[in-house]
Symmetry: C2
Subunit: 100 residues, 2 copies
């Protein structure tokens, strides 16, 4: 069953869009290790926050992604843009109305 | 661009799994109106909470789903199982590393 990460990332003031650019850079390797969806968004009511929802084939696929050179480079590049405020939740799915 | 709803639903004590059963009942009509993913999960660290992540083609698709008879019946059936505690966030996606 899938593993889901739904998170909010606080950005340093004025750095939100730069953070979005890092998170949305095309990365085919993610799908190769089992990333089914990776949506990045913003909401002008919270102008210093980036919202992310990721769906993975399982938690092991998510862990494997963190070892990818592309992902490690992206994390390093994004770090100075982060305020240190994180939120959200993660879970192992138990089902979906879209499948049996 | 997609619309994402990432939410937590508080369940009345002991009613979590019944709430999960409602939320995961097979509903092909959701895909018909533009539901791309709908993952439901639990986490035993928070035994009275159900976690949901939904990805829709756009916010209009999500709104349209709320008018479906299936969905309205499911909401009515689930209501007595809910504690009234809700959390999470929703956003319009601005991009994804999985697509250009």
């Amino acid at each position: 069953m899938t593993f889901v990460n739904a998170g909010t990332l606080g950005a340093e003031p004025g750095k939100r869009d730069e953070l979005v650019a890092h998170l949305t850079r095309r990365s085919p390797a993610l799908a190769d290790v089992g990333c089914l969806a990776y949506e990045v968004g913003v909401n002008d009511d919270e102008p210093d926050t980036v919202f992310v929802v990721e769906i993975w084939t399982d938690a092991a696929a998510h862990r494997a992604s963190l070892e990818l050179p592309d992902v490690q480079a992206s994390i390093a590049a994004a770090r100075p843009l982060l305020s240190g405020e994180f939120g959200g939740f993660r879970f192992d799915a138990v089902g979906s109305p879209l499948r049996d």
